[in-house]
């Protein structure tokens, strides 16, 4: 029998229909096209910053990546709460899917930020910047969540333990967001767009910036959907193999 590393319970609600659905559907195509449009607009149709030059264009893929990772980690925590409350395996599966996508966007956000930091701060990494260090900590907690899931065989125990860790991970998000206000030592700038009064960005830059949020959110949700569908298929396979073995 093939070793199946995860859950063995068959997905609820017409499993055959769920399994028959493709992993990458029209929504995924919309998400990818939005990302391509963002790349084209930011690189070719948005003027460079007067002070930072073209390095400022990293913003358009750096900050939206953070918002996407917060969304994914937030969904992980919310579905974990739902799992602890209702013990519904679909909530656990969605939690696992969004955690994996959250890690992808956290990696994207950290790596693009390092390039910007090298140009503007003169350093790839600044340990005493609280936002940077707390974000790295969040990356490790989400990675630990996925490692934990792979380490526990019992389904109910795995779902329960990982749900608790996911909720703890999400508690870091407000601290990361408010770290520029809470800690005086740091290199990260205060909010530029989300502040009282007029945003300090030209209209062209602002449109690209806001479109970046939309594109990354679409891409994030599309990836979570695809990863969830993969989870449905994987669990169905495990259930089929167990059914085959017990005959």
């Amino acid at each position: 029998m093939t070793t199946v590393p995860h859950g063995a319970s068959a997905p609820k609600r017409d499993p055959q229909a769920l399994v028959a659905k493709p992993i990458f559907d029209w929504f995924f195509v919309v998400g990818v096209l939005a990302m391509v449009a963002l790349y084209v607009r930011s690189l070719m149709f948005t003027p460079p910053d007067a002070l930072q030059g073209v390095a400022q264009k990293i913003y358009y893929i750096h900050i939206p990546a953070w918002l996407a990772s917060y969304t994914a980690v937030g969904i992980t925590a919310l579905t974990s709460i739902v799992y602890l409350w209702l013990h519904d395996e679909r909530a656990d599966r969605l939690s696992e899917a969004s955690a994996e996508i959250g890690l992808v966007f956290l990696t994207g956000g950290l790596s693009t930020g390092m390039f910007w930091g090298r140009v503007i701060w003169g350093a790839w990494w600044v340990w005493w910047d609280m936002r940077l260090t707390l974000t790295l900590f969040l990356w490790f907690v989400v990675a630990a969540y996925l490692v934990l899931r792979g380490a526990i065989e019992d389904e109910a125990m795995r779902a329960r333990y990982s749900a608790v860790l996911a909720i703890l991970a999400a508690l870091l998000i407000p601290f990361i967001h408010l770290s520029v206000y809470l800690f005086s030592a740091g290199m990260h700038p205060m909010p530029i767009v989300l502040q009282p009064g007029k945003a300090k960005l030209s209209p062209q830059m602002l449109v690209t910036f806001l479109f970046g949020f939309v594109a990354f959110e679409l891409f994030c949700v599309a990836l979570i959907r695809a990863r969830y569908r993969y989870g449905v298929k994987r669990d169905m396979l495990a259930a089929l193999e167990i059914a085959g073995d017990t005959r």
Partner: protein, 46 residues
């Protein structure tokens, strides 16, 4: 003086590689599970 353009290109390239590699990984895992599902389904039908 730092060539800011090369850092901008580097950031976009690294981000693209991360997202594309993840999509390829997911596609590959899904393809293997679909194949295994087909063969497991056929085995159970017998």
């Amino acid at each position: 003086m730092i060539d800011t353009k090369s850092f901008m290109v580097g950031a976009y390239t690294v981000a693209t590689v991360i997202y594309v590699l993840y999509m390829l990984s997911l596609w590959n895992r899904a393809r293997r599970v679909s194949k295994a599902l087909d063969s497991a389904g056929a085995r159970n039908d017998r």
